[in-house]
């Protein structure tokens, strides 16, 4: 068994991290699976571990400076039931994993696990969510979409810990979430989609489209979105092929044990089309 520490509070956690690069465990629902061993043996971790389950001060959801602030140890099941949770995030969480896993897993863990198929990231990308990274001496705010660099790769530094997720308040007239996962619960996405739009006086004032599991990181292309603002929905619908072509360049899925690249690509395009046709 490798060395492990269970800090009593954030201060203590930051001191540990300042001294040594620990692997930080929030809910552990990804890490424990990734490091599984023969039953009744300790999991196969090679690096020292820091368990966060006692950091109760990081379990909250509140309004703060026109943003929704979520403590990084808040479990998904709590978010599912909380009135402040943005609707699109709630939709996504409602089909993530199973109730037992949601009871311990966290948004911060899902972000740092940085899976191309992560579902919560769909909503966090769409909502322009940010994470607060703290170390003993520093604090910085980073967009979730910039935090994630590639599969299992983030820009979190060795001595940092995520303390908060901040979600700007937004309002949409249309929000859609579709998860294509093989089955309705306890599934890993083959491809999943979030679309949000604000239509005012028949003009698209805000448009956000996010896809997972079709490239190394999630796809959100603000440059494409902004081209179609201040236009009527039927303009977007009439130029569907142009929109789809623009996205097609970024959709580069792979074959794996859950699906194949042709299906993922076609379905991703279908989902974009279906969403735009509902505006």
């Amino acid at each position: 068994m490798v060395e492990h520490v269970i800090p009593k509070n954030l201060e203590e956690a930051l001191k540990y991290l300042n001294a040594k690069p620990y692997k930080v465990i929030a809910g552990g629902t990804d890490l424990m699976v990734q490091h599984r061993a023969w039953s009744a043996l300790s999991p196969n971790f090679k690096t020292p571990l820091l368990f966060c389950f006692n950091l109760n001060a990081l379990k909250y959801i509140k309004v703060q400076n026109d943003e929704i602030a979520i403590g990084s140890m808040t479990d998904l099941e709590t978010l599912l039931d909380h009135p402040l949770t943005p609707e699109i995030l709630r939709k996504v969480i409602s089909v993530m994993a199973s109730p037992a896993i949601r009871k311990v897993s966290t948004l911060s863990g899902n972000i740092i696990n940085a899976s191309p198929a992560a579902d919560s990231l769909l909503a966090l990308y769409a909502l322009d969510a940010k994470v607060v990274c703290r170390s003993l001496h520093t604090e910085r705010e980073v967009l979730v979409s910039e935090m994630v660099l590639g599969p299992r790769k983030t820009q979190l530094k060795a001595h940092e810990i995520i303390t908060e997720i901040r979600i700007p308040k937004t309002s949409f007239t249309h929000t859609t979430f579709v998860k294509v996962g093989g089955r309705l619960a306890d599934a890993i996405s083959k491809v999943a989609f979030v679309g949000c739009a604000q239509i005012v006086n028949n003009q698209v004032k805000d448009l956000r489209i996010v896809l997972n599991a079709v490239s190394a990181t999630l796809i959100r292309q603000k440059a494409i979105e902004s081209q179609w603002l201040n236009k009527a929905p039927n303009v977007l619908q009439s130029q569907m092929d142009t929109i789809l072509e623009a996205y097609e360049a970024y959709i580069q899925p792979i074959d794996d044990q859950r699906s194949n690249k042709y299906y993922r690509k076609q379905t991703a395009l279908n989902l974009i089309k279906q969403f735009i046709n509902t505006l």
């Binding site: 044990q257 859950r258 379905t267």
Partner: protein
Amino acid sequence: MSTINRSVPKVDAKDKISGKMLYVSDLHIDGMYYAKTVRSTISKGFIKSITLPELPEEVTVVDYRDIPGKNNVKMIFEDWPVFAEKAISHYGEPIMLVVGPNKAIVQDVVNEIDIQYTLAEPVFDMVNSVVDYHFTKGNPESAFKNAKRTIKYTYETGYQEQAYIEPQGFIGTIEGNKVHLTGSIQAPYYVKNAVVETLACDPSDVRIVQANVGGAFGGKEEFPSLIGCQLAVALKKVKKPIKLIYEREEDMEVTTKRHPAKITMEAAIDENHHISAIKAHVGIDGGAFTGLSSVVLSRAMIAATSAYTIAHLQVDGDVYLTNTVPNGAFRGFGAPQMIFAVEMFMNHIAKDLSKDLHAYRLNHLAKQHDLTTTSGTFRDPILMPQMIEKACEMSDYHHKKTLYERPGSYKGIGMSWFLHGCGFTGSGEAEHIKAKVKLRKDEQDNVHLMIAAVDMGQGAKTTLMKVAAEVLKRPLETIHFDNPDTDQVPDSGPTVASRTAMVVGGLVARAAKQIKDNWVDGKVQTVHESYKQPEYMSWDQATFTGDAYPAYSWGVNVVEVEVDKASYEVTVKNIWSVYDVGKSLDDNIVLGQADGGTAQGVAYGYLEVMRHKDGKIVNKNMTDYVIPTAVDMAKTETVLFDNPFALGPYGAKGAGELTLVGGAPAVATAIEMAINKRIYKIPATPEYLMELIHSDNN
């Protein structure tokens, strides 16, 4: 008529639901050792060298050189080694066990063993036939010669994993010469006979006890013989109690699965548009070793026209070996593959002839006194017309069909009709199994069922105890049925082939009758019964001629689906079923079989995907091998028809497999209607549906 079908609480339910029941991995013996299997990392080749690390004290390596008897797992053919010697035939083939008292140390040794191989070219296609059967009925050649036209299609089915809740495992002890294994098994005497051959010992030196079984679905019919033999060899060498339990991924990678199949059907159509003859070729992928594949092939071939009667038949079949995990027993045993092909073929013929599917199929439905595929006779009444009518009424089939057949509906309703032969194929019961049962009344007038039948969750204990109680007219509480122990009970055969209620239950009823007729209060009384083949049955295994089964159970499944236009995903909305299992011995238990069976059978048709890549199973955990969850499972409605079989206890026939075998074609024909394309293979995944929808020539 008997009211035995009235449900009682299952005798095992309370301990299972409360978590009190112990399974083999819960068992602990002081001082026990743990065994871990070292496996090949190539699909085909030869072992060039094995380099062991310096073994820590108390750690032992067990391999083929330690086998006192035959290095063969006793089944039908001699081709499945207990441990690989030189040749490797599939990825994950067991080479040795590492045994020691400390799991971490055992794991370290396993990690440090270095095995070098000479590689050979693996075969993954169905080309290497090792079993080849054929039979005919009537005169297919002449029917084909006189045909107005012929119609031919090929159908393919994939792997299916049993996905029992509890992985494979045993715990064993040794005292003097006597080896005692307790395991999660369906066939205590299969394990015993295999271990006796491997140890080359006296049968009295092997004792097999069934642990509480957390699901099996056929997966614990023959595979446990392999682990049982390995563990017995280890016990002989190490002389300590040893536990050998598979991890989930190990279990999914290396244990037997449902055979992938490729079935080609050709029909001769006469001037009245009737099918006058069928030629079928059934190819199944046996994996690396033959195992039970020849018997699986037989059952598939005998189901070549399922619930229909076709006058002339030519049925050929092959078991092909490939360098993949050995395939084996799985609820349905060859029938799900065949019934999928038959049902799709009937629909495709009707479509090619522009006939109404329903009417066309009804015209070919089997009737009492018709000849079976093997020229035996359907002796008992067949209630299928009434059952089909009931299913149509429950599901509003005809109305929905009209609605959903409109192009672009993306909704469909599909139906399958099928039968399942009860018990072993042909003369298996009489010549190979020769089932025996023993009942013992103690001084307190409690009656003990001394039988080898296994309750793996399907309700065998409750059902067979009810049969005895009903015959004896005694309270259920006075009947006892412990998990079988080969030192205590005679060989009443494996718990497979939908035979337990009908065959073993029949023997229990006869034995109970003997006790009742000779009842003396407070006296110990013991009676025996053994299987006698019904006198009307005759079977020629060489030509596949005669009565393949003493009785048939019948079924109708209706499945309603919706297909998503954007993701091509299938949502199963409703499942309706009508079954004739002779006489239900407990309605809740049969309905439980029905719900579980349709879940497994329907999911086989559209959801459950298992593939191998270069011989390695890629869907090797319950995340990547998708079976339906409670939220995926559609609402089910099931009706049972009484049609008592004279030789079954209270009229009971088989119920275990029947409920699975028709699921796939029911969902596949529903999907065909929804997307207006033809389906030739299962599982009908969204990926496959996308191809079909975007293809012009289907």
